[in-house]
Symmetry: C3
Subunit: 308 residues, 3 copies
């Protein structure tokens, strides 16, 4: 039983499956206009740095459960009071105000420090550049499960900047808990997946390969998970960059080779790595993925609020 949601390593398959069943119930509740079951609960959105998308997702989830929200968009810049004090003190005070805290911190480990002093549940909504974002990882995994009905046995391409993307790293980690999954890491050499993840997969007997073009594997996979490649990460000229990007860019031509029942995912925001002409293809799952974030967060909030 989890009190706080801090990092993907906390989740085992039974917890994940229970959560996904709840998320599917939440989807029905959402489409009926929500519930009032949590109308006497208050969530604090404590965002030390702004992330409007993630904040809106949590706040929508809480409102669809009937709850209330107090919110700060940019605590680090805004409040000399809060930023001058330790995160521990801030959390101890909020323990006396609200029922659950969603925290986005600018330092790795911020959410964990918050959890260590908190009797009410803490949910990590992203901590630092290389930190965790566990509700995004659960949303990604739920999207695969929701769209394809299984995770076991799937061929999954993780594409883009695999060196820096925390989304990708967390998802690879969660996938390793399932059976007969095959992972295709598709990235420029400079941005390939780090060795720690490879070792983790090997320990869990997960098959993987490293590729540097999407074209070679596009017809073999059930899931294409695309992410951004930022030019600044590559130290390349404009010309080299646009040549390189041809190996990763997804447009109508590319998805012509994609299986009929496969899906295309993206954590959003997208820059230009998926052509908007792909949006109307039924296999384009990235906007449904954003909505699944609501269902997963509703399920998580209900799970925590029911228990504490």
């Amino acid at each position: 039983m989890l009190r706080h949601i801090i990092e993907s390593q906390q989740f085992n398959v039974p917890f994940i499956m229970e959560l996904f069943e709840s998320a599917q119930r939440m989807e029905k509740i959402f489409h009926r206009g929500g519930t009032q079951d949590y109308s006497n609960k208050i969530m604090a959105s404590l965002f030390y740095e702004p992330s409007t998308r993630t904040r809106f997702s949590f706040e929508t989830a809480m409102y669809r459960l009937g709850g209330k929200v107090i919110s700060t968009e940019n605590a680090k810049e805004f409040s000399s009071a809060i930023s001058g004090e330790s995160i521990e003190d801030t959390i101890k005070v909020l323990n006396h105000f609200v029922d659950v805290v969603v925290i986005r911190h600018n330092e790795i480990g911020g959410a964990k420090r918050a959890a260590q002093v908190s009797k009410i549940p803490i949910i990590n909504a992203g901590d630092g550049k290389g930190g965790q974002h566990p509700t995004q990882a659960l949303t990604d995994l739920y999207t695969i499960y929701r769209e394809i009905k299984t995770i076991d046995g799937l061929n999954i391409a993780l594409v883009g900047d695999l060196a820096h993307g925390r989304t990708i790293r967390s998802l690879a980690y969660l996938l390793s808990k399932f059976e007969r999954v095959k992972i295709f890491f598709v990235a420029p050499d400079a941005l390939q997946i780090h060795q720690d993840i490879c070792e983790h997969l090997e320990e869990n007997d997960i098959w993987y390969t490293k590729e540097n073009s999407i074209h070679k594997i596009i017809n073999q996979v059930d899931v294409v998970y695309q992410t951004r490649i930022e030019k600044e990460k590559l130290n390349s000229s404009d010309n080299e960059y646009s040549n390189l990007m041809k190996e990763f860019y997804i447009d109508r031509n590319v998805i012509n080779h994609l299986k009929q029942n496969a899906i295309i995912m993206h954590p959003l925001p997208r820059l230009n790595e998926i052509s908007s002409e792909v949006d109307n293809d039924p296999r384009a799952a990235y906007f449904r993925q954003a909505q699944n974030g609501i269902f997963v967060r509703m399920a998580l909030l209900a799970y925590l609020l029911d228990r504490y």
Copy 2:
């Protein structure tokens, strides 16, 4: 039937009259403390630049309808995520979160782009410096209708910076849809109304005149709509500016010449173009005008939420 509220040109007289009847019902509901009829609806306030007054007006309207609100005060500065992505993608995601989006964008056409990809209603809360602010225009027109019971046949003075004020332009446009309206454009030469509006009025057989002093016409009009004249717009010395302002400034002496049943309007914020000694005169309608914004926005939100 309107799905989105983007620009004043969308409104015809039957729509306007239906909306005004609804706004009058909303006024009664407001004074009874609101309704819970929309308690399962969520509005997103997506303000790319801050406009606290307008945001508060929409959020109050939504709360008085029983609904919920997720809100960002300053998306452009706050969220690299949202600002780095296209407005189309942001709106596509919000379509899966909420029931209606109120958008204040920093570029002309921002709201229109949002509407083009949106299945849920989009309301333009101002786009860019020279853009539209259609709910303000409806509020202004409703205030005249609410205070004088008619719009047909009225003599209306539009005063101040007529060259830059989007409020004035939108209102002139809406007034042209009514019968026997006479418009007095009262402004320094450098800030007079632009030719495009004059041509539009001529096409619609609306009588108008251009004046450069309020004193000459103050006793002839049913409505004085005052706006700000900013010194920087005039390239004049302090002395010239304060001499010029005497022709437009409204104080107790000026309104001594105003008809007993006339009204004084102002979109607010006011700087110094109406003396505060005028505030307690029953003809000073500008604070009631601000409140009418709530009723009009409640009526618009209900109209859109009932249909989509």
Copy 3:
């Protein structure tokens, strides 16, 4: 009967005692999950400068009463509209929107100016550096009353920067209304309590003394109210500062000398003037004090909303 809550001087003992009884009822309501009694009321949080803690406290209080909140975190920086206009005009408009306004203004007297033009209740949530923060003062006094069941006859140490702390000044003022209170002002000479407060206490026959070490008086007092001493206020070297701080710092050794039924208070945020090893001592009341702020604000909001 108070319409607005602007400064501590407004409160007499009967009002304070009535409020404290209400706050104790609110505590029970809070722990039952709140009430819906004020579900048709809206509070505006009008913060011209950010103060996340205070804003969260008021917004939590309003939500626990069932009400709704419109909120701006940083009106001064955000809204050229609101900041360009007089606070009087802003308040006159909000009178037509909401039921109560909580204002944090950056200038002394801001809340008072707001109240002068307002028919709906205004609550001062802090105005300017040397201004008032009356709900903090009531919270502090309520904490003493709640923890020790009386205020009359107590020995109270006010410790730290007594020259600049508005909290301390307001509390000393309120304490002077009670019987047989003894006050120990414990501060470095440069930061001792100002003469105006001393004179006020003398006029009210309140015993006080000035000390420059906490060690000398720690075993005599029922309440230790600790506040921050900022190095910049002292013009001292690092070495001098840390030597000086030994006379005011509270750790386990210090509270070994504190009476068994005494309490330790702090308005928070804390920097380093109370060791975190003290937090788990039952006499450490500062986090309960933060929670008492919710109950006092619930009681104040209910008091004002019931009457206007």
